[in-house]
């Protein structure tokens, strides 16, 4: 038994970030998971979605992800949800989670990231939010007493400033690094390590620049101000 055994890690999105995040958590000793994604494996995913192979094309990502990690570790307890969470469904989704659940937002939907942030802040849950594009990535752990994602970014960007990886590209290695960074942050939250939350890690793997951008709780933050 490790301190992580009693924690359920909820990974929303089993794509470029979710795949390495799941691997990182299993490697760290986590054993209980909920995997959420309605998507099927596509050949275009294989470069960065490292849990899937050619034979998995057309199959549900959550099922293939579960099969992959179950072949790597004993006694994994994995629940899969092959459906897409809409922005309007986030709050009700969180009410169904066990108390000791830590979420990882590995989606590619800016509006959903903000919705997950807001719902976690309202319900006192911890979440790790990540994003990648081309050579860059960001990751932020949000805990009940820390600044949240909306303290830094007040609103989602418009579509023209939030291009999808499929349109402008992302280097698979960048997604891999960020996924493991997210896993590390989630582990640190589970272990109650201090100073884990409330800072935005911004990485540029083309230049090697890594920055920690310090966030503070904003008084008029729409998420924090309404938190219980």
């Amino acid at each position: 038994m490790t301190p992580l055994h009693g924690v359920v890690f909820v990974i929303v999105g089993l794509g470029g970030l979710g795949c390495p995040a799941l691997l990182g958590l299993v490697a760290a000793g986590a054993r209980r998971f909920m995997l959420v994604d309605d998507d099927h494996v596509d050949a275009s995913n294989l470069a960065r979605q490292v849990l899937y192979g050619i034979a998995d094309v057309g199959k549900l990502k959550v099922e293939r992800a579960r099969a992959f990690v179950c072949a790597r570790a004993h006694e994994l307890d994995i629940v899969t949800h092959a459906h897409r969470i809409d922005v309007s469904q986030v709050s009700s989704f969180l009410t169904e989670l066990p108390d000791r659940a830590i979420l990882l937002d590995c989606t590619d939907d800016p509006r959903l990231k903000f919705a997950i942030n807001d719902a976690c802040v309202r319900s006192g849950r911890s979440v790790v939010i990540g994003g990648v594009l081309q050579f860059r990535g960001q990751a932020m752990a949000v805990a009940p007493d820390s600044a949240c994602f909306r303290c830094i970014y007040e609103a989602p960007p418009p579509a023209e400033l939030a291009p999808a990886c499929g349109h402008v590209g992302v280097l698979g290695t960048v997604a891999g690094v960020l996924g493991y960074v997210m896993a590390s942050l989630a582990v640190r939250i589970a272990l109650h390590e201090r100073d884990t939350s409330g800072n935005l890690l911004d990485l540029d793997l083309r230049t090697g620049a890594t920055r920690t951008l310090h966030a503070k709780k904003r008084e008029n933050c729409r998420a924090c101000a309404n938190a219980a």
Binding site: T107, D108, C165, V170, D202, R211, L213
Partner: protein, 90 residues
């Protein structure tokens, strides 16, 4: 002269350059001079009222300007100013 780090979506305004050197004693001045050198870029950072857009953040030496003095935040000679939009790909 401060170094301004340009995020990928805005590099089309800076001819692909990811770092540019710009003068300005405050963030507001710096953005104005940035616009003079690279027309069109400020509109992507600031709205019609001149405020930083809600989905972008500006950091001076890794500190969020909203917790300093916003656009009046002083910029030192050797400071690094980062324009950091949210990245949402997954």
């Amino acid at each position: 002269m401060a170094t301004v780090r340009i995020p990928t979506p805005l590099r089309k305004y800076t001819q692909g350059r990811e770092d540019v050197v710009v003068s300005g004693q405050t963030v507001a001045e710096l953005l104005e001079n940035l616009e003079s050198s690279y027309p069109g870029i400020r509109e992507r950072i600031c709205d019609e009222s001149g405020a930083v857009r809600r989905f972008v953040n500006v950091f001076v030496a890794d500190e969020d300007i909203r917790f300093l003095d916003n656009l009046n935040t002083p910029v030192g000679e050797a400071d690094e100013v980062s324009i950091v939009p949210a990245i949402a790909g997954g």
